[in-house]
Assembly symmetry: C2
DNA sequence: TTCTAATGACGCAAACATACGACATAGACT
DNA sequence: AGTCTATGTCGTATGTTTGCGTCATTAGAA
């Protein structure tokens, strides 16, 4: 493997670090947060009225949905012409555990503080 | 405010969504995760042997440290020529709470699942 | 069959992130 | 003063993300 100066070096890190970074990246845009919240709050797993709900074009929302789906945080289910989206319990749980473990690991103990 | 086609629309979202997205963005690179873990594991808040520890150039690590500092997750303290870095308890706690609240909010209840 | 509506895929332009070498600075040590 | 060392800043090349318009597809309606 040849590394050019500007090549990303993500894979030089540990698998756990890569995993949490990947899931954090998905959460790093307010639109995707908003989509997750919308799906959590909407009892009937309604499809792309998500586009109407967000201040973004339908195309852009579709893109964000793809990212969320790819990360395993949501699921899509065809229902005639429309598509029902909803949270993927398994993916959300996974994320919860990843973040939980990390946050526990990096909780500072008082005596280690510099100032 | 004029929006060109390609302008980011981050500020069209709610403040809470922006906050969590911003903190998630900081966590979205394995190098920064690794730095936080290193600081948590190193009792003596050691400075830039972080660069030696990571498979990145000193300049790049410095950049990541700046990002973490800017996000309030770490602190730097000058000590003669060297600089002691360590976790910022307050920032870590804040992140913990933000993620905790969100994860609780988007926890799917069984009956809402599509499939 | 033909029309319409919901959606994803493709491709572009602007903005942003990553990585690094080269330079600048500032403390410590002759 | 000069020199070395630890560090940050700047510029720059390349890669990635965001946002959207346009197109193709597919399911239902007429």
């Amino acid at each position: 493997m040849i590394f050019v100066k500007t090549m990303r070096k993500l894979d030089l890190f540990e698998k756990g670090q890569q995993e949490i970074a990947a899931i954090a990246k998905v959460m790093s845009h307010p639109a995707r947060i908003a989509i997750l919240q919308f799906l959590a709050a909407t009892p009937t797993c309604i499809s792309g009225d998500i586009s109407d709900f967000l201040p973004l074009s339908r195309t852009t929302v579709s893109q964000h949905l793809k990212d969320l789906k790819h990360a395993g945080l949501i699921k899509g289910e065809v229902e005639g012409l429309k598509i029902k989206y909803c949270l993927n319990k398994k993916g959300i749980e996974k994320m919860k555990q990843l973040f939980g473990d990390l946050l526990e690991e990096i909780t500072p103990e008082e005596e280690k503080n510099c100032s």
